[in-house]
Symmetry: C2
Subunit: 286 residues, 2 copies
């Protein structure tokens, strides 16, 4: 475990943490929600895509008869800014075990017209009704103990753009995937880290949507720098995570034609694979 | 290469094959398309999910200013039947390099009311404008030569439910992933096959949407039998495929709680990774 920080000394609980306050949506009318996107989850000048997905996921959790995202696909259209936004949801189908919904997040242009930022399609269920069995042999990622891993606080900005979001996360990166921070990227499309919320809030299905998109891009280890904007991100939540830190492993097999995929696996403290995700992102090849 | 069949002796070309005729959509009014879903792509009694995705992908290719699916996510709502269907598309955003659209496929209930079968969200671009570079070290799957692999025609129904779709596909499965057909599943979530269209039509971005969902389910090699309905399927098309047979490799890492993921990679004859997909599917454990 990392040394207790002042924040962690008073652990926040699920429902009463900064993440919960910053993803809270307010019902305006049936299916329509208002939110003030927090500046606290920005990296460089962009609002983090995982935070935005959690915001949309929360609105759908309220709009649909089922509470937990089983599979949620987001297409990122235009860059979101901190500030007011409106989420419009649409119930596509409600079933006994799964319900499907759609949601769009809009912000406003200078004339006050709505501009769509993200559109999401998702199927929700109830994770607590699933049988407990696991029939596969997948193993958690080989990560060194947390005290042998490194976060933004451990060096001269090893994670670039020491921006707002890094204060809200507990990230401890595997030194084996930190070559890029020392000017020696491995050439392998891998990134691994311990993950938590800085205020000690335990993970839940919504924070998993943040976890899959919170590490530095694998492109850094492939020797690229600069912005890697997400085109599409799909997350499968496979189990309710146990309390305690998560381990996140991201791999890229195919960087080609100016695009790459990032595949994330998220493992909980009980060694269970709790989420899988894949995103398609653009890279600027130089 | 497989022995030339009578069908392959007269190779169909892209645009003039059974697959093209059976995915052809007819514009009814702007954004709305009619189609008669062919019974030729059914497995047991269900219309194949990859064929349905290709149908929706074709409608979006017509509706959007860009022709090629870069990333397409489908949520499967109710089971499609051969017969009439209508596709309603919605242009979400048009950009210079990418455009995003939505499409839904509906059929009709006994009272003639529309019932939604599938909803899709997709971003399209132009594959021919992408730079040619490949910067990763991913390798094609290790598949034996085609004449050492086996298809439905090679035995007493090694692929179960010798149904319509198998006549339209050229599938040659890796013997290492055929244990299930001999009553000895490997216990590994792997399925590998050569893939083509039986009439010899070369692959294109639309037929890649079929290729990712055309193999027997990995669940068979995990010792399960029965139906594995898709909840959600996302495909990334990464490059226009070269002429010739494709190799498809599917893996499952996590079968748990009654769900599993299937990750597909599709490689072309030029050893290029042309598509990646992931689906979440339900399994009947028992």
């Amino acid at each position: 475990m990392p040394e207790a920080s002042p924040l962690q000394a008073v652990r926040a609980s699920i429902g009463d943490s900064e993440f919960d306050r910053d993803t809270a949506v307010t019902l305006r009318e049936p299916g329509v929600y208002d939110i003030d996107l927090s500046a606290g989850w920005t990296i460089i000048s962009a609002v983090n895509g995982g935070y935005l997905l959690a915001v949309l996921g929360r609105a759908l959790s309220d709009a649909l008869p089922h509470a937990d995202p089983f599979t949620i696909s987001a297409h990122y259209l235009t860059a979101s800014q901190p500030g007011p936004a409106v989420i419009r949801t649409d119930i596509v189908r409600t079933g006994r075990t799964l319900s499907t919904g759609q949601a769009s997040l809009f912000q406003y242009d200078e004339e006050g017209r709505e501009v769509e930022r993200i559109r999401v399609l998702a199927s929700y269920g109830d994770l607590d009704t699933l049988p407990d069995d696991v029939r596969t042999t997948a193993r958690p990622p080989a990560l060194p103990p947390m005290d042998q891993c490194f976060g933004p606080e451990d060096g001269p900005a090893p994670v670039p753009g020491s921006s707002a979001i890094t204060d809200r996360l507990m990230l401890k990166l595997d030194p084996e995937t930190l070559g890029w921070a020392l000017g020696a990227p491995s050439g392998k499309g891998e990134m691994r880290s311990w993950f938590g919320l800085a205020d000690g809030r335990d993970p839940d299905p919504l924070s998993l949507l943040l976890a899959v998109d919170a590490l530095p891009p694998t492109a850094f280890e492939l020797g690229l720098s600069g912005w890697v904007p997400t085109v599409e991100l799909t997350v499968h939540v496979r189990s309710r995570p146990a309390p305690g830190p998560l381990r996140v492993s991201i791999t890229t097999r195919n960087l080609a034609g100016g695009f790459l995929e990032e595949d994330a696996e998220v493992w909980d403290s009980a060694d269970r694979l709790v989420a899988q995700s894949r995103q398609l992102a653009r890279v600027r090849l130089g």
